[in-house]
């Protein structure tokens, strides 16, 4: 079975964010970029499926500029077979992104499309389900583990207050959260092999973004408050402050 995994290149979560000169985006200077952690779960899930089946092809897909190739090379190093870069602008409008991805996936024969539940930069959690609607496929979001049963995929979702099991007919779209798919590290051999794997670049069919960023700002620094005291003896004073000063109890 052929599987598409959509990945995004994002700043490492350690990054201290600085606002760039345009006042609308981050200053990328000195920032280390990585594959979004949730997308790594999705890559891992795809690779395990392929390994279990002993056949099939895993394609890593991204929308972005030339630098987004890094994310694809990482996916190839983990074990993906081929990669496609849709060259185009990544905007805050998830529907525009989903449209570009859909155009590529529609033309391919891929019964399963996997994505991370959200990207670690925008945190919007929307491209997966939007892509599913555009492709006219069912979709399960925030899936921690799943299995294929013939032409169905059975997914476990960690939802509020419990675990839900849903069953979708293929072709389907599944977004992956932390759970069973702890990502493997790329081996040295994998990294070498990735250099020879096919990475295709083509222009993205993007639509105009209908979300317009006016400005980006840092949140006001939280000034550390006070140390109320040491040990259990400080508790009554803490509770008093919480009630009388912070009005929080």
């Amino acid at each position: 079975m052929n599987i598409f995994v959509c990945v995004k290149r994002v700043p490492d979560t350690e990054t201290r964010i600085r606002v760039g000169a345009d006042g609308q985006s981050i200053d990328p200077d000195g920032v280390k970029f990585v594959v979004s952690p949730y997308d790594e779960f999705a890559i891992e899930a795809a690779l395990r499926l392929k390994e279990a089946a002993g056949e099939g092809e895993v394609t890593a897909l991204t929308l972005g500029d030339a630098q987004a190739q890094d994310a694809l090379r990482s996916a190839l190093a983990m074990g993906a077979d081929r990669a496609v870069l849709l060259e185009g602008e990544v905007t805050p409008d998830g529907l525009a992104t989903a449209r570009a991805l859909a155009a590529e996936i529609e033309a391919a024969d891929a019964p399963l499309v996997l994505l991370g539940v959200k990207a670690a930069d925008d945190d919007q959690q929307q491209v997966g389900p939007m892509l599913a609607i555009l492709l006219g496929r069912p979709c399960a979001t925030a899936v921690s583990s799943f299995e294929l049963n013939g032409d169905k995929v059975t997914c476990r979702r960690e939802v509020e207050g419990g675990t839900e099991v849903v069953e979708l007919p293929l072709p389907a779209v599944v977004t992956i959260t932390k759970g069973e798919f702890e990502p493997r590290y790329a081996s040295l051999k994998g990294i070498m092999a990735a250099k020879r794997k096919p990475l295709e670049t083509k222009p993205a069919q993007t639509a105009d973004s209908r979300l317009r960023v006016e400005s980006m700002e840092l949140p006001p620094e939280r000034t550390g408050g006070k140390i109320v005291g040491e040990g259990a003896d400080a508790v009554p004073e803490l509770v008093r402050l919480l009630r009388e000063e912070a009005n929080a109890l």
Partner: protein, 329 residues
């Protein structure tokens, strides 16, 4: 005049806490954009009797769709019904909660309506004929102001940020016919296994008690659970990634950049060092309390109140004092 639609949630037939927040956000927008606030509630037969509080919060009209197949959320059914009703009305904006359910629902509605979605926003204004939203990015390390160049403007709002308002609306209940055919919905919900009891999700809880590696052992969560229970029904449990990775707590409780971003009124960080990825997820909380035996722990840089000390001594005392306070009041 265009109206504002607030899509509200129920669970087991009772309105969710976020329902009045979504209505409050809609009331705030309608003040500038004009028009009425309409609430939309989907549920099983008889759900129309569970609309208490929507009128009091400012809804002029409560649209209700009742059907057996809508008793619980369905990932194909709910988006289809909501997109139809949102599309039929003359709405300037459509608001959702950025709850676990809302994060599944809103993007699907948006794609069905061919509209962009500003998700998990913490502020909303209507200026110059367009909706502008404050959207946190990088897990709250920064935020952007985005203008939505589409009508209706689709937005999901972060729980606990928009305070419910007391503004009586007429709350006329209108039943909307269900025209969708549930047999055409491809997804089958096989089972639901409840785990958390009635404890609210960490992203929606008004008070959060979080534990980190300093708790030493998963069994010690009984101490956190006691504090949580003492704080009342609206309190939830959170965790640092270290303890989730150790398998002590489920990932659903993880707060931070690769977990949930939370904005409760009160956040307790117990035995949590305060790594940058954790701070990203909770720095917008109203009041932050930290208990840590290391006076130099970074968590104290963001905490409003801190106690330096052994959490195993501090926690039982804290639970006791809060219990006494709440019982007395």
């Amino acid at each position: 005049m265009s109206n504002v639609l607030a899509v509200v949630e129920q669970r087991d037939g009772a309105l969710r806490g976020t329902a009045r927040e979504v209505v409050a956000a809609a009331v705030g927008l309608a003040r500038d954009s004009g028009g009425e606030v309409h609430a939309l509630l989907l549920g099983g037969p008889g759900i129309g009797a569970s609309v208490d509080g929507l009128a009091e919060g400012g809804a002029e009209v409560v649209k209700v769709v009742e059907h057996e197949a809508l008793a619980d959320y369905h990932p194909d059914g709910y988006p289809a019904v909501v997109a139809r009703i949102a599309g039929e009305g003359d709405y300037s904006s459509v608001l959702f909660a950025a709850s676990a359910l809302g994060k599944d629902l809103a993007p699907r509605v948006a794609a069905r309506m061919d509209l962009p979605l500003a998700g998990d926003v913490t502020g909303l204004t209507f200026e110059g004929g367009a909706v502008t939203a404050i959207r946190p990015v990088y897990a709250g390390k920064a935020f952007t102001r985005v203008t939505i160049d589409a009508t209706p403007a689709l937005v999901s709002i972060r729980p606990n940020v928009f305070q419910p308002v007391d503004q009586a609306g007429a709350g006329r209940v209108e039943t909307v016919e269900m025209t969708e055919d549930p047999s055409s919905w491809p997804t089958r919900v096989v089972s639901f296994e409840a785990t958390g009891g009635d404890v609210p999700d960490v992203a929606e809880a008004g008070v959060v008690v979080s534990g980190g590696r300093g708790m030493k052992d998963p069994e010690n969560w009984a101490l956190l659970e006691e504090l949580r229970a003492a704080l009342g029904d609206g309190a939830g449990l959170g965790a640092s990634r270290a303890v989730v990775d150790a398998g002590w707590r489920p990932h659903g409780e993880q707060v931070g950049q690769t977990g949930k971003t939370v904005a409760p009124k009160l956040y307790f960080a117990i035995g949590i060092s305060g790594a940058i990825q954790h701070l990203a997820g909770m720095r917008t909380a109203g009041t932050i309390v930290a208990v840590n035996r290391d006076a130099d722990a970074p968590i104290f840089k963001v905490a409003d109140y801190g106690i330096v000390g052994d959490l195993f001594e501090v926690l039982p005392r804290l639970t006791e004092e809060i219990r006494t306070l709440r019982e007395g009041s």
